[in-house]
Amino acid sequence: MQVSRWAFAVVEMVHLLSLAALGGSVLLIDLRLLGVILKGESAKNIGHDLGRVLLVSLTILILSGIGLLSEEAMKCYFSPAFRWKMALLASSILFYFTLHRRALNRAGTDTPPELAQRAVAVVSMLLWLGVGVAGRAIGLI
């Protein structure tokens, strides 16, 4: 039996499922920060609560990603898409723990979000989207 063939497939599936969880939590957190949804709830609480989902799925994504990488190390080494993905991933994580966190903490419940907070939300969504798109491009470029 081709163990490695299905092992690769299973890791890919895990990677995809956690991608969905990450995408969902990023979207809800940032749309709240943007003042589009759940306006009655505190952005800080939403960010804190869904941040757990984000971090758990991010951890699984990184672990399964390392699994995929080990099968295709040479491909990734040479792939410009992979380099972009890693750069965007590092930026997303850095952004999440710094400016994004600060924006969440400062967000009030009843007041509409300030321009700076909206900007942070948009940048965050774009950064994470960029990670996904670059990831997809690894297999296509």
Partner: protein
């Protein structure tokens, strides 16, 4: 009408039976990098398709002398176009040389890393950045290192 449907159904079945495998997403998961294979034969069918292209060549088996139809897998049309392939480069009946790596499952399928056309032109066919031998992430691949390294 019934006969026509039955005939087309048969045709579909026949074409499907001839396809060894459909798609993959990692060279390492599907093909054996330690089994370089060179196929010399006539093209019998071309599938210029996403997500992977396939073409088929009739190769005489050196042991039995029988003609065996081998499947050759390459990148999708987009990636192949960027490498200078055109759909019309592969013509049914043409004699070509395919350097590739055999499928791990032992079927008559290779990952086509390099194809030498009748006019002597060499084209790289590996999936873009699939990490297989000779892949260096560029559109040309590492042609000189393919096949025999």
């Amino acid at each position: 009408m019934k006969a026509k449907i039955a005939a087309s159904a048969l045709l579909v079945l026949a074409s499907i039976a001839a396809v060894p495998a459909y798609a993959h997403h990692s060279f390492a998961a599907e093909f054996d990098g330690t089994k370089p294979t060179r196929l010399v034969g006539k093209i019998t069918r071309v599938e210029w398709t996403n997500p992977h292209s396939y073409f088929y060549v009739d190769v005489t088996d050196p042991k039995s002398g029988k003609l065996i139809n081998w499947g050759c897998e390459g990148a999708g049309p987009g990636a192949l176009s960027r490498r200078g392939w055109k759909k019309g480069d592969l013509k049914i009946g043409d004699q070509i040389v395919v350097d590739g790596y055999r499928a791990k499952d032992g079927s008559h399928l290779v990952d086509a890393r390099r194809v030498t056309l009748p006019d002597g032109r060499s084209v790289y066919g590996g999936s873009p950045g699939d990490g297989g031998p000779g892949d260096n992430g560029t559109v040309q691949g590492n042609l000189s290192g393919t096949g025999k390294s």
